[in-house]
């Protein structure tokens, strides 16, 4: 249920994004989803990959600052109001969404969102109670 996301610290300079991607490509690791949070000086590259343990070890050995974070992949109906409805579930809860991004996933009429909650376990319980599907990690990593 819980997905392991890798985060990398990158300076906001030409070529700095390509290097870790090349490194993963060489080892045949597929990037399943990605989001970049950027400031004027640096960025945080967040990655969901096919083999996160191998990828983390590779990137660390190459000298990157790597952080592994637990995130959730949550389904939402792929139509107007789909995401709004999903977010309403958390509106009145103490659970905070630190950030989120979309996951490119082949599922007819369903979108998948990656959520970083401050409390993933509580979020899972809340989603289950609301009858919302949390995508299995095996399905996310292997395509």
């Amino acid at each position: 249920m819980i997905i392991h996301q890798l985060s990398l610290f990158l300076e906001n300079k030409p070529g700095h994004l390509a290097e870790p991607c090349r490194l993963l490509a060489r080892e045949n690791i597929n990037i399943r989803a990605l989001a970049l949070a950027d400031t004027s000086q640096y960025g945080i590259l967040r990655l969901i990959v096919s083999d996160w343990e191998k990828a983390a070890a590779l990137l660390r050995e190459a000298g990157y600052a790597v952080k592994v974070t637990e995130v959730l992949a949550v389904e939402a109906p792929d139509r107007p109001g789909g995401l709004a409805h999903l977010l309403e579930i958390f509106e009145n809860s103490p659970i905070n969404i630190e950030y989120m991004y979309a996951f490119p996933f082949d599922r007819s009429e369903r979108a998948v969102m990656i959520f970083r909650f401050d409390n993933p376990e509580a979020a899972i319980a809340l989603l289950k109670a609301a009858g919302i599907g949390v995508v299995d990690s095996v399905e996310v990593y292997n395509r």
Binding site: S7, F9, Q41, Y42, I44, A65, K67, T69, Y99
Partner: protein, 443 residues
Amino acid sequence: MLATPVSIAAPFHPASAPDYVPLRQLRDLQLARLRATVRRAYHQVDLYRRRLDERGIRPDDVTSLDVIRLLPFTVKADLRDAYPFGLFASPLTEVVRLHASSGTTGKPIVVAYTREDVDVWTNAMVRTLASCGLGAGDVVQNAYGYGLFTGGLGAHYGAEGLGATVIPISGGNTDRQIMVMKDFRVTAICSTPSYFVHVMERARELGVDVRALPLKVGVFGAEPWSESMRRHIEADSGIKAYDIYGLSEIIGPGVASECAAQEGLHIFEDHFYPEIVDPETGEPVPDGEEGELALTTLSKHAMPMIRYRTRDITRFLTAPCACGRTIRRIQRISRRSDDMLIVRGVNVYPSQIETALLEVEGTLPHYQIILTRERGLDRMEVQVEVTAEIFSDRVGALEQLQMRLEQAIDRVTGLRVDVRLVEPRTIQRSEGKARRVSDRRPQ
């Protein structure tokens, strides 16, 4: 008669005997050696004779140790002007070794050793390593650079003289350093402190737990480092980190060393006579007050140094040391008068920045200070590498870290600076002395 050594945890090594000599005996020895040194300098080196004559001082006037304050100082420029052999007091037929400083500006400084000088140096380094608790049976990884730099061969001869097993690996090739450390069951490493921090960091990346290795002692020198950096190294690696001191102009490493007490460095003053002087006036400061260390060699033949101004700021620690050594202690050198930066009229030392960064939990001291001038105003940027420990996947957390670092530097130095977070290993690593400051201000 030797005083009975008072052991605090460390075993006594016979080579350390001169460290415990009764003070009266030590002063008599120093006076005899000072007279011989001044005589040799006067008769063999033009510069010294000229300067002593100018002051009307004859070698026979050295009748007490107090007379030393009448002798002229020697400064780095004197060594540079005498390049290459101008200050030698021995003919080359008696010189068995030359070393040279890297010479960041202009010509390097060349230093010479006779056979006896090499023996004195070895003796001082044996006592240094013994004072750091090493002995026969230790496996010493010598990661000081071998070559013209005095660090490598100085530590090498000392460790061999001690009867330890020496691995002359020199600096660099960090992955191999870690392999050797593990496979050869290394118990002690000699390097600059900043290089050891780099080794620890690389070991972590390779999944090697330094704490689980037999390594127990680090003998660190060749650059100023702070007490907080020592605590960081010791907590992170589980070793005892000792500070040693020396400079090529005097002999190389082996001028002074910490002991098991880790409270100041004992100067091997039977070979190197220390004074603390006011850096402005050159007058001796009262015992215990801070000033510049000036050293006079007492046993060197090829290149005697009289009152050499080290530019290193320290003070005498006047209380007796818990280890029982009678030779004097100086406080660890955290700054050099050369290192002082003047930023918007404020005096700043790189070591202050280091202390501030370490105050903020988890920050490794890989940093660089960059000085620029924008529209006539000095700007100081401190680049800090983001390590896995301080990295967060949330932008807000990183922004907060940046702010905490800026505030800590402001508290210590009184200066508003910009902290810039940079990728790990983007700040150039030095295998020797760390280069902390890049001053890009127009002169």
